[in-house]
């Protein structure tokens, strides 16, 4: 068998219709740009831009010994509903999202989930790790009008005064489960929306519809990378 797997985002068809320039990165088809880079930057500065973290890794950790394990991983004690940055393995930046007392999610860069999972599986006790990367799609909404856009989609109070930076919440969005994280990029207001892969197209279509009069624009991987 001489096949090389190419991973596809559930949004590839949408990217094709939006005229994205696609490129292969880390085994994934990734939208690099949707328009000229300046237009994407302008949306980020003045309204709101949407982009997908194509291929992002996600590991779910569940178990009563989660706290001890977090300590071993070098994760500072994190209250439920908050997120922190850490290094899952040296040199590999990651985020720890404390969803409940016994449930956390580690969010990783593309391709990092496998090695990290192997490292974590060495842990003893009743702590279980499941790679849930394939089932999730994560979108970034970056720009000052992000809360206005979210107000049309999410009942949760995402006003920046109420939903502080690095807050995370499990809620609903237009009828589907949603994990929302606020993770600002410097002065830029930024929300990350994680939904099931099976509803990703539905969610994106709804976001596009809700945001068309707010100046919503797509941004590709180039723009997203620059924001990091």
């Amino acid at each position: 068998m001489d096949l090389e797997p190419i991973a596809s985002s559930p949004l590839n068809e949408i990217y094709r219709h939006r005229g994205a320039l696609m490129e292969r990165r880390n085994g994934w088809q990734v939208p690099i740009r949707f328009s000229i880079a300046e237009a994407e930057r302008e949306a980020v500065r003045t309204s709101v831009a949407m982009g997908e973290f194509v291929g992002a890794g996600a590991l779910d950790l569940v178990g009563s010994e989660l706290g001890e394990f977090a300590g071993l991983m070098g994760v500072v004690e994190t209250p439920v509903g908050e997120a922190v940055a850490f290094e899952s393995v040296p040199g590999s930046p990651a985020r720890w999202l404390q969803l409940t007392r016994s449930h956390a999610r580690i969010v990783l860069r593309p391709g990092a989930a496998g090695p990290v999972r192997v490292a974590l599986e060495a842990a003893d006790g009743c702590l279980h790790i499941t790679d849930v990367s394939s089932g999730l799609t994560t979108l970034a909404l970056v720009g000052p009008r992000g809360p206005d856009l979210l107000a049309r989609l999410v009942r949760l109070d995402t006003d920046p005064r109420a939903f502080a930076d690095h807050r995370v919440a499990q809620t609903g969005m237009i009828g589907v489960p949603l994990l929302i994280l606020r993770w600002d990029r410097g002065p830029l207001l930024s929300f990350e929306l994680t939904v099931g892969r099976d509803v990703a197209e539905y969610v994106v279509e709804a976001v596009e519809h809700a945001g068309h009069d707010l100046g919503l624009a797509w941004m590709g991987a180039e723009a997203l990378t620059r924001l990091e």
């Binding site: 068809e13 394939s134 009942r155 109420a162 009828g175 892969r197 099976d198």
Partner: protein, 987 residues
């Protein structure tokens, strides 16, 4: 009406704008009224622009098509509803004019001036109150005809068919303190709350803040920094302070409902906003109320505040010759203001007695030669298309007729209670001192302030608002002052019925004491007259809520704002009671009209797509909705697809299957507890079928269980059952009281795995081209589970088959689903592979007699009666539903239970088609039902599943199935229709 009477002319001459008005002086713009250009100014309302251009008739009434002109001028009555830019029933008096705006009249044909349906006004006798309960009901068959005519004749605006205005949407916002009303009390409340650090949102219906201050050119405060400054300056100062304080201000936003759960519905532009709050301050103010007298609906009869708004906000002179009817000094001040605007004030009819104290305004009017007629009320307004003169009735003296084109009613104020009373703990109560209904007290989440509480002095309003804002802030959380919410009670604040400052605006008589001939309208929305109310009460509808429903008074667009008090007063007069005794009808949402487009904007119907979704479209599949999923129903023809699976190889997307991972050392115990089958003895690498029941032994779901390791399980569920089973498993894996949590964790992998079923006698040869796994029956037997790569993608393969052929269920990471699908189709090309859809799958599974949970079973089905007793393992000590199933089993063995049904297969000869859900009948009576039926292309006969009486559940028994042409006979079978021994699936 005399020939040549000016009141026959529908319009007045255009009036020059008054200098120096508040919001006007903007650039000139043009709007179009019925296609005719009308000059307007930026800042005008649509109605103000039209009024300035001479328009006096703005709409025709609901029932009698009477001409109607501006009445309140503040968005509270129905008299200015128009079609604006295609949207019907827009309140033109509060809608800002914009350049190029297209305004059209509604509810009149061919024009507002000449309306053919005005003939209905002469048919009053045929259209008495409640006529629709008595007429148009026989013969019943004609109702569709009646309905069409009635809908043409009655009603208000018309929604243009096919139009889909864009931009309507819902929003969800939150705040700590919400304030409704941008007048002095509301602004003061918002400022006070914001000063404590609260997040505050202020909702104001008008396009600018200020309320009465916005219009008020007079000095209002007796002392302090603001003394001697016009009200509008004070309002502007407060508005600026709000911005500085970071208050979120929504102008042009209408609060339409206050709901339980601390939710306020607000329409703002094309958005319907669900505003969640911790504390709500209502400062909705008060409005002038009209009076009931003959001809009171003529264009030219206007509330005093309506005239003031025209003058103050838009610089429009409201008339040439005016009569002012009043009951308080405010009416006298209005007369002065009219005079200052160049309106000739013919007289002031003051209902107060001769010996009432004379105010300075009275002295000034008298000095100017304006007759102020004390102890005098309006008896009748005369005119054709607009007002020509009025008759006033001094008490005990003869009538006087006064020629005028404007009658201003400045008779008293009514709190805008709608929102408060929607949430009030008690019914609105009659306040005899003021002649108003006051809301019952709300709960401690809602506070009232300002004129809503009968406070009308500016200083008091500001203080009152400030107190309410502070109290709201204290109650909105533990970080804004430290006083718990329980201490916040409306009782702490002045209210109409409690300790509020007394109003300087006294009550007045609403119903004319001198009644002359002519229609006296009580409810202008629904064209309900005094005569209608009288007749309805005489017919026995003498309770206020019943009277409302029968007469429809207060059921129109204004929701009773213009008539609630008058209806109560009339009812009280009729039955010899007091208004307090009769009460008033309850205000309900919406408090103000809300656009249907905004209400209907929400459209949250999730759509789930499999990773191969777009491949199916490219292959020409017809898609169907199965729950939230989109699935291919058929690609080419069901027969061809079935044949491919039976004779060659087929491929179906089964990604919609629920997929759960259960891990942990207690995973086996959890499965043994939740499912009826045995799992402890299942070896890794093997698969088993299982069923879950609830406590009553009812089938919840079914699926397959693959043991991938000692503590790792992969479970499939039905497509629609995965969320429920996920929750059910989590429920049973929760620790009991005082117990430690079991080590078993459930993860829903449904969206993360693409799945296909490669089925058919040639499936092995196709799969062998894409994997290195040994696929021989010995190495990978039926009910085996293997982890390998397929098309270079890591995969889980299960040797199972829903369709009864050699088959492989292949699960791969969703991101590779499309690639694996393509690879399988390509690899199978030389083997004649075909994709098959849900319909072919249903036929094939039915040939095998497989049950679809939720389709062949329902909320009463248990495994014993569903023909699956073998899934229940009695040797287990405990599992969910065991006691119930044990009891059912014992009952079945002891005796035949009446009405007990069993699920069996049946056959019909040839190609007879019957609908699913057909009834099984015995002796002509319903005895069971068909759940599945198809004509099998393989077996060339009709096959189905049906619930039949136990006595008929034997091999070869005959059952009768009811069809429209008569019952037909079918033969029962308890064996699968196809390959009953299961040789093919094991091959």
């Amino acid at each position: 009406m005399r020939e040549g009477d000016p009141s026959e002319a529908p319009d007045a001459p255009p009036s020059a704008r008054l200098p120096g008005h508040a919001d006007g002086d903007g650039r000139e713009i043009t709007i179009f009224f019925d296609g005719r250009p009308v000059a307007a100014r930026e800042g005008d309302s649509v109605a103000a622009a039209l009024y300035a251009a001479g328009t006096r008739i703005f709409t025709r009434s609901f029932k009698y098509h009477r001409p109607r002109g501006l009445l309140c001028g503040a968005g509270r009555c129905p008299n200015c509803l128009m079609n604006v830019d295609g949207a019907p029933n827009v309140r033109s008096c509060v809608t800002p004019a914009r350049d190029g705006m297209q305004v059209r009249h509604q509810n009149a044909w061919p024009s507002l001036e000449i309306d053919a349906l005005a003939v209905l006004g002469r048919m009053e006798r045929l259209l008495p109150v409640g006529f629709y309960y008595k007429t148009f009901i026989h013969p019943r068959a004609l109702w569709p005809v009646y309905e069409r005519i009635l809908r043409q004749v009655g009603g208000l605006g018309v929604i243009e068919r096919g139009s889909r205005p864009e931009g309507y949407h819902h929003e969800y916002r939150s705040t700590e303190v919400a304030v409704v009303g941008g007048g002095p009390a509301g602004m003061s409340a918002a400022l006070a709350a914001a000063g404590t650090g609260c997040r505050v949102t202020l909702v104001e219906e008008e396009e600018a803040l200020g309320g009465m201050l916005r219009e008020d050119p007079h000095p209002r405060l007796p002392g302090g920094d603001r003394a001697g400054r016009p009200g509008r300056e004070i309002g502007a100062e407060l508005a600026a302070a709000l911005e500085a304080a970071g208050v979120t201000v929504w102008t042009g936003a209408t609060a339409v409902g206050a709901y339980e759960g601390r939710q306020l519905a607000v329409q703002r532009g094309r958005a319907l906003i669900e505003l969640r709050y911790e504390r709500l301050v209502l400062a909705t103010g008060a409005f002038e109320r009209p009076a009931v007298f003959a001809g009171n609906d003529l264009p030219g009869v206007m509330l005093g505040t309506g005239a003031q708004r025209l003058m103050r906000l838009y610089g429009v002179r409201p008339g040439q010759r005016a009569v002012v009817a009043t009951a308080h000094d405010g009416g006298l001040e209005l007369a002065e203001e009219l005079r200052a605007a160049g309106v000739e004030v013919v007289a002031v009819a003051d209902s107060r007695p001769d010996d009432a104290p004379r105010s300075p305004a009275y002295q000034r009017l008298a000095a100017a030669g304006v007759p102020v007629l004390s102890d005098t009320g309006v008896a009748k307004a005369y005119g054709g298309l607009r007002l020509s003169h009025v008759a006033v009735a001094p008490r005990g003296r003869s009538l006087r007729w006064l020629r005028c084109d404007l009658l201003c009613l400045s008779l008293g104020w009514e709190p805008a209670l709608a929102l408060l009373s929607q949430n009030a703990a008690g019914e609105p109560r009659w306040d005899a001192a003021r002649g108003i209904y006051a809301a019952g007290l709300g709960d401690n989440e809602i506070l009232a302030a300002g004129s809503l509480c009968g406070v009308d002095d500016l200083v008091a309003c500001l203080e009152h608002g400030e107190a309410a804002g502070r109290a709201a802030a204290r109650g909105s959380g533990d970080h804004h002052g430290g006083v718990g919410g329980s201490s916040i009670q409306p009782r702490n604040l002045p209210s109409v019925v409690e300790s509020g400052p007394s109003s300087s605006r006294p009550a007045t008589v609403l119903i004319a004491e001198t009644r002359l001939d002519g229609r006296q309208f009580v409810c202008v929305c629904e064209d309900v007259t005094v005569k209608d109310i009288t007749r309805a009460v005489a017919e026995g509808f003498d309770q206020v809520e019943l009277l409302k429903r029968y007469s429809t008074a207060s059921m129109g667009p204004c929701q009773g704002k213009m008539c609630r008090v008058a209806v109560g007063e009339l009812l009280a007069q009729q039955i010899g009671e007091t208004p307090a005794a009769v009460g008033t009808s309850r205000a309900r949402p919406p408090a103000q009209p809300v656009t249907l487009g905004a209400l209907g904007a929400a459209h949250a119907a999730p759509v789930r797509r499999t990773p191969m979704h777009h491949r199916h479209g490219a292959l020409g599949a017809r898609l169907m909705n199965l729950g939230e999923w989109k699935r291919p129903e058929v690609y080419s023809s069901v027969e061809e697809e079935c044949r491919a699976v039976r004779e060659g190889v087929g491929l179906i997307d089964v990604s919609t299957l629920g997929k759960l991972e259960v891990v942990g050392k207690d995973a086996v115990a959890l499965l043994e507890k939740v499912y009826t089958g045995r799992f402890a003895d299942l070896r890794p690498g093997r698969v088993r079928y299982g069923v879950a029941c609830d406590d009553a032994g009812i089938i919840l779901d079914d699926g397959t269980f693959a043991r991938l390791g000692p503590e790792r399980w992969f479970i499939t569920t039905t497509s629609g059952g995965v969320e429920a089973m996920d929750q059910w498993l989590r429920w049973w894996s929760a620790p009991g009281p005082g117990g430690s949590p079991p080590c078993a964790h459930v993860t829903n992998l449904t969206a993360g795995l693409a799945a296909v079923n490669l089925a058919g006698p040639r499936s092995r040869e196709v799969l062998s081209r894409l994997t290195d796994l040994d696929l021989s029956p010995e190495a990978f037997p039926y009910l085996g589970a293997r982890e390998a790569t397929v098309a270079a993608v890591p995969a889980l393969l299960l040797r199972i088959g829903f369709v009864g052929e050699l088959g492989y269920e292949i699960h791969v990471p969703a991101e590779y689903g499309g690639q694996v699908w393509d690879a399988l189709l390509e690899a199978g090309e030389e083997s004649g592979i075909r994709p098959f859809g849900v319909e072919a799958q249903r036929v094939l599974r039915l040939e095998k007699g497989h049950v679809i949970v939720g389709h062949d079973t329902d909320a009463l089905s248990n495994p014993l009666d569903a023909g699956m007793p073998w899934v229940v393992k009695w040797e287990k000590d405990d599992f969910v539903g065991r006691p119930s199933l044990l009891r059912l089993s014992a009952e079945r063995q002891e005796q035949e239970v009446e009405g007990q049904l069993r699920l069996v297969g049946f056959t019909l000869p040839g190609d007879i088609w019957i609908p699913e859900r057909s009834q099984v009948v015995e002796g002509g009576q319903p005895a069971g039902r068909v759940t599945s039926y198809r004509v099998s292309p393989t077996l060339e006969q009709g096959i189905g599943l049906a619930w039949v009486p136990t006595a008929s559940a034997v091999e070869g028994a005959a059952i009768r199935i009811a069809l429209p042409g008569g019952a037909i006979e079918a033969a029962v079978t308890l064996r699968p229709f196809y390959d009953p021994e299961g040789f093919r699936v094991r091959s």
